[in-house]
Symmetry: C2
Subunit: 477 residues, 2 copies
Amino acid sequence: MRSNMPKQFLSFILLAVMVINTSSPSVAAQSGKARADLIVLGGTIVTMDQARRIIDDGAIAIAHGRVVAVGARADIQKSYFARETIDAGGRMIIPGLVNGHTHIPMTLFRGLADDLDLQEWLTKYIFPAEAKNVTEDFVRAGTRLGLAEMIRGGTTTYCDMYYFEDAIADETSKAGVRAVLGETVIDFPVADNKTNAEAMAYVEKFVKRWQGDELITPAIAPHAPYTVSEEHLKAVRAFSDRTGAPIVTHISETKREVEDSLKAKNASPIDYLERIGFLNERVIAAHVVWPTATEIEVLKRLKVGVVHNPQSNMKLAAGVAPVPRMLSEGLRVGLGTDGAASNNDLNMWEEMDTAAKLHKVFSGDPKVITAQEAFEMATIRGAQALHLDREIGSIEVGKRADLVIIDRDDLHQIPVYGVYSDLVYATKASDVLTVLINGRVVMRDRKLLTLDETAIKKGARLYRERVLKSLAPTSPK
Amino acid sequence: MRSNMPKQFLSFILLAVMVINTSSPSVAAQSGKARADLIVLGGTIVTMDQARRIIDDGAIAIAHGRVVAVGARADIQKSYFARETIDAGGRMIIPGLVNGHTHIPMTLFRGLADDLDLQEWLTKYIFPAEAKNVTEDFVRAGTRLGLAEMIRGGTTTYCDMYYFEDAIADETSKAGVRAVLGETVIDFPVADNKTNAEAMAYVEKFVKRWQGDELITPAIAPHAPYTVSEEHLKAVRAFSDRTGAPIVTHISETKREVEDSLKAKNASPIDYLERIGFLNERVIAAHVVWPTATEIEVLKRLKVGVVHNPQSNMKLAAGVAPVPRMLSEGLRVGLGTDGAASNNDLNMWEEMDTAAKLHKVFSGDPKVITAQEAFEMATIRGAQALHLDREIGSIEVGKRADLVIIDRDDLHQIPVYGVYSDLVYATKASDVLTVLINGRVVMRDRKLLTLDETAIKKGARLYRERVLKSLAPTSPK
């Protein structure tokens, strides 16, 4: 299911060992212990490694943003010392959650319009609201709001598609959050770029600026096969081939999209994209609600990442993706919230809970999508869907130290009989206590350390007034 | 949709006016203002009255456990004074949520077994666990845990079916929570009663003890038409006719139940229950997943209360109840969580969110079950389903003062464009700040006032050890 250990991973371990062996004299002063930057001590570690090890009373040593050791508390304490220690006794430590699909600035449109047909929702509310409000400053304010909400809920990596993605990268980097950020390419004028040429030039500069960054993976995001021409899709793929940038897109979200594609292109969206040579192991496809069994084979063969958005698909009545089949076929399937305008939050806990329950009732089989599988989709499988599983998605030596510490003392979590059941069916975003990304503490004991929560709320409320004013004649409620 | 104003309601208003006019001399001292026990001041009041009024910067005056005035803050302040005032400025005040279906002590089995076929789940885990563990003390410990979780999430009324219901009533009353409590009648020996005669004697005593209580409505709970004989169901109905006690039951939960009923009784469960004269306006039926259009007519004509449990029905793959049709037919339909062993929490916020989303995707129509309808099912329609809408379910003069104050300052709730959208799609249990039941503050600023949270957690964890020990040879994970 997982790729073989990559070369860079092996080199890192060698490097880590070298660092340990050659570091400063204080190592000796600590009677042979190796130095780490930070040690998380105690608690139950849900590693999500290949063996799915769960370590009671464990510990994690972190150096240079990566996990250098994970194991029993006593063993780690014997071998490592660090200036900083986080006591996680009695708590649960999990890999940071991966939100595989967002339009992060749309937090500012949260609840602007609900309970509508997709077309009406888009054309009467969302598109006009975007046309009248989306500026770089709007995008920055919405991004900060979304980042704060995601950190608070234990999401450490997200994958985005929107406009002004360079500003989103800047805000995300400043907040210390990991992300795959896709700048939109679409065949009509949008907030930041008015032509395809402008968009491609933007992406060129954007990818050059951020590639190699420890947190930000810049990407190109053709909106969907029905809003971007074949020629432009091929140019996107060529750009990705040349730069190595991932491709973020929407595929097969609604039945109508499939029917329209069959009419216009004599092929379903996935068949069409395969035919024009668009799909490969750098593509991250959101939704994929309506693939046939043959198309699932195509996605598997071409190693396409798939992001399932159960709550958005339910709310917009898009349909139920064949996720149990995708999982049994071993596809790279993650979970996402979609934008806050169609969800209406960025809460991965509710997404896990919903994924497990939705597929049970839809298939009539209460055994499909177990709690463990739902949790996998939010962690290691989510990392696979973003093609980042060499770096994140589990707590393993050599991987980035993206960790979440969960409080286990709230009434709704008591008692606990099984770890995955507790995580998926009982734990809430409000139980997230402390969050580390790339070894850096970005939330400690529910206090955000890299974002100014008061200023973010104030800014969001100001934008609410502007949005309402801009839509005044057609305001929904 | 709502019943006409009942006589007792009118009498109450008269009483309230009399109380105001004849109360102590301090009325005069406050320059003609009437005395209330408590005033909730400021905030947005979501009344759920017949006009669905939403009052910005409102206030609510409470006396003798009931709402005596609700309106604009300035008007209430002009007319009432009270020793105690709760400042709800900037917050939202809603009617207390109604959880229409629980097995409250099963909180102690939360997450004991998941992702299994209903039969396997019941026969391999739940029934053995119950047989080996359920005592009156277990029921008390589980009830306290469930009460604490429900208060924290803004539930002020619940409807239960379990064993030792007299102990549940005692704990519920002590915690100051409102409930319809149904003592189980079932045709095999259970934890508290070994025969039908014993159960009927228990119910007789139980109903006599609690009838007339301000908080507790004692009820009789025949488990289901397939576990209670026709003779015993008729005796239940006769008991209810004689005492006026409501009847809590499960009807038409699974397709198999319907098929078995058709084979054994040549009638679906609802047809069968109508034929034997069981159904009336005192029946509260949980689930009702598989009714035909004709059967929906029967439920409507006989004024049966229906409780929809979307998350439980999803997790056990029971099916999707035809709730949009039930609502458009004007049935009395509420929402419930079911027991924590099959959900795995008692969270009405997630139930509302799920109800709205599930029916959209299942029907393919994003306009069914609007946010407002979902909120109605958790409040006024939920009260109708329990046949308690003369007393609770909305914030109106004469009704019981069951109120919940919601904090609106968490990141996931910002910005707000529509009240019902905010409540159903964005608000979480963790946003509940203060809870009043029958005019009494049972949680203030997230601190439980009628329950000892530390002792409850300790007790629940002790029972976890016992449950695991009792199941040791067949422990699930």
